[in-house]
């Protein structure tokens, strides 16, 4: 499932999905808010490609890419975006609250840094169950200023838990440049305070991400305790749908577009002869078709039944 074509396909699917959602918000077909990950596809896809399929992933508010990379179905995701009964959360969660426990996707959530302790607990559970499953927790540079980040790294280190803390550093916490709000040069350095070796990697290079996570996964699975990876990347769109990106320059955006993770990988595959232009064009057409179908599925899906509300709070 992680051939070069698969990696390319998943990144292309995330991009297509995110851009479609952007468009659907603009035209009023989806309401609420959303945090899109266009530009960060190599992080999601590379990280998940470095895991075993029975490992678990905890996501954050910018989670569509993580979910697709873990194996989430775009149709059920789109249905959730549109608040339909067939959505992963039956229309109750929307963009930032989706999960699929069957595939080990333990949920995206809207509280910055909120998922970190939960991920630590899942890793504790795996360890107590004497499995060799591990957890990967996605979070952003902004979340590393939350107390939960520090509590989680400390707890995971003290208990030597099987968890990879995966920071997608996209340089801005909403509008705040990282260095205006963060006392260290790199998030990875923060691992030092908890005896966790941090590494900084190129988050726009899907192979670099995959290899870093696979290496960390092997160590973590072997009982070495937690790992911290900081992947440098960039979100193309605003923090959320209302953001006009006044806090950054068009030149900076342009520089990052030149290192687009999908184009970089496509170029590498062309060069190595693993994929040619024709194959790439076919994959691009297929993912477009897949997202068309997801939108069609979501659009024609039934609304949720309000009568089910009260019975759905407790197990």
């Amino acid at each position: 499932m992680n051939t070069p074509a698969d990696l390319y396909r998943k990144m292309a699917l995330i991009r297509e999905f995110e851009m479609r959602i952007d468009e659907m918000f603009a035209t009023g077909r989806i309401r609420g808010t959303t945090h899109l990950s266009a530009g960060q596809e190599a992080c999601a896809v590379g990280a998940c490609a470095g895991l075993r399929c029975d490992d678990a992933v905890v996501s954050n508010h910018r989670g569509h890419g993580h979910f697709i990379a873990t194996g989430g179905d775009p149709g059920a995701m789109m249905a959730e975006m549109m608040g339909k009964q067939t959505g992963y959360s039956r229309g109750r969660g929307g963009s930032q609250h989706m999960a699929c426990f069957d595939i080990g996707f333990l949920g995206s959530n809207g509280i910055t840094g909120g998922g970190l302790p939960v991920a630590v607990g899942a890793a504790l559970g795996f360890k107590m169950q004497k499995t060799d499953r591990i957890v990967l927790c996605f979070f952003g540079d902004g979340a590393s200023n939350q107390g939960t980040f520090h509590e989680s790294l400390n707890l995971a280190a003290v208990w030597r838990l099987p968890i990879i803390f995966f920071c997608e550093n996209n340089l801005y916490a909403m509008s705040t440049p990282m260095h205006d709000a963060t006392a260290v040069e790199n998030i990875a350095e923060r691992g030092n305070a908890y005896t966790i070796a941090g590494e900084v990697i190129d988050g726009n290079d899907v192979i670099a991400v995959r290899d870093a996570v696979a290496g960390a996964a092997e160590r973590v699975r072997g009982g070495s305790g937690p790992a911290l990876i900081e992947a440098m990347t960039y979100r193309y769109l605003g923090h959320s749908k209302s953001d006009k990106c006044e806090y950054r320059t068009r030149e900076e955006e342009q520089r990052w577009h030149e290192r687009d993770p999908i184009k970089l990988y496509a170029a590498r595959l062309r060069e190595s002869g693993e994929l040619d232009d024709g194959r790439i064009a076919r994959i691009d057409a297929e993912v477009k078709q897949q997202v068309d179908e997801a939108v069609e599925f979501a659009t024609t899906s039934p609304d949720p039944n309000p009568d089910e509300l009260e019975g759905s709070v407790f197990a």
Binding site: A56, A99, L106, V118, G121, M128, Q129, T148, N154, F314
Partner: protein
């Protein structure tokens, strides 16, 4: 006949029994292992279950409650001890935005069988940040159950039910009840009986009476019974309803009693404004206004923090005396 357990021992025994019964149950909290927790409730569990299942944690309330949620999501059944209920404020995000919502917001895929135990209440001179009753913070939050026992038997039976429940349960322990043995046979707890689990959501009549229903939970039940005993000589008969759990809230039992007596006092140790007592009083009025012979009265803490000085603390916290005065007023109003 075996010796009855104290409230504190009943809680320990409930945990031990459930841990013997189910390998997925484990405990974590600050100083819960060798030390046995600040109130020594968990003392001795380390010897039987070892450090893997009786886990000392860093002082990280948000981290450990969150870790409880995560472990619960992957099939464990964690119990997290918060040293003083006041410290639960540091874990409010994990309880409010995570534990209580996952079931609903992930389309009923999730189960969060998490118990958070928290010693609450004053009367011990611990002052403003070590004396509070903060169940009010969660009472209005859908998705979290709240148990607050007033007797050793209920402490044991409700905690066992909480541990077996597939939802997050906040288990409110009364600090000053820890040494209590329970006054009547039905209030006493004994180790080893597996069949006396008390289902969450069922109030009990702690004392039958005819003139006024006193609705209370946790230590205020003891105060209410004391008031009832004192008022007997004056010819005022109180019926004391022990809610046992605030969520689910057994309003049917409350309304049945108020329907009979026609008068109600709602008693709680927390501050008067915006607490469970206000909600319960409101529901009584909504449901049986025309059956009431007098206005519903509330007995609660003053709306000031809980002070250290014994004189001041006694003034701020409600007691049997306040319940008795409220009862006399109610009888005069009718």
């Amino acid at each position: 006949m075996p010796e009855p357990l104290t409230y504190s021992e009943a809680i320990r025994e409930a945990m031990a029994e459930e841990m013997r019964r189910d390998g997925r149950v484990f405990l974590m909290g600050e100083d819960v292992a060798l030390y046995g927790g600040a109130f020594r409730v968990t003392r001795g569990l380390l010897d039987e279950f070892g450090p893997g299942r009786i886990r000392n944690t860093p002082i990280s309330e948000s981290g450990i409650v969150g870790a409880g949620i995560g472990a619960a999501l992957v099939g464990m059944r964690p119990i997290v001890e918060i040293m003083f209920m006041d410290f639960i404020t540091l874990a409010v995000d994990q309880l409010v935005n995570h534990a209580s919502k996952y079931r609903f917001m992930y389309g009923e895929q999730a189960r969060v069988p998490l118990v958070v135990r928290a010693p609450a209440g004053g009367h011990r001179g611990y002052g403003p940040t070590h004396s509070q009753c903060l169940e009010r913070l969660f009472f209005s939050m859908p998705g979290i159950k709240i148990a607050a026992p007033s007797t050793p038997a209920d402490a044991r039976g409700l905690l066992k039910a909480a541990i077996r429940d597939d939802n997050p349960v906040l288990f409110v322990e009364s600090k000053i009840l820890y040494p209590s043995l329970g006054d009547r046979p039905e209030e006493q707890a004994f180790a080893g009986k597996d069949d006396d689990i008390i289902p969450l959501g069922r109030a009990r009549v702690a004392r039958e009476g005819e003139h006024i229903s006193v609705i209370a939970y946790s230590e205020m039940v003891v105060q209410a019974v004391r008031a009832a005993e004192a008022l007997e000589a004056e010819g005022i008969s109180l019926e004391v309803i022990d809610l046992r759990t605030l969520a689910p809230l057994d309003m049917a039992r409350v309304l049945e009693s108020v329907g009979k007596t026609g008068r109600a006092i709602v008693a709680e140790e927390g501050h008067r404004t915006g607490g469970p007592g206000a909600e319960i009083a409101c529901r009584i009025v909504e449901s049986c206004f025309y059956e009431l012979d007098a206005p519903v009265r509330r007995v609660a803490a003053m709306d000031v923090p809980v002070p250290v000085s014994p004189l001041l603390e006694r003034r701020v916290l409600p007691s049997a005396f306040d319940i008795a005065s409220a009862a006399r007023h109610l009888m005069n109003e009718a």
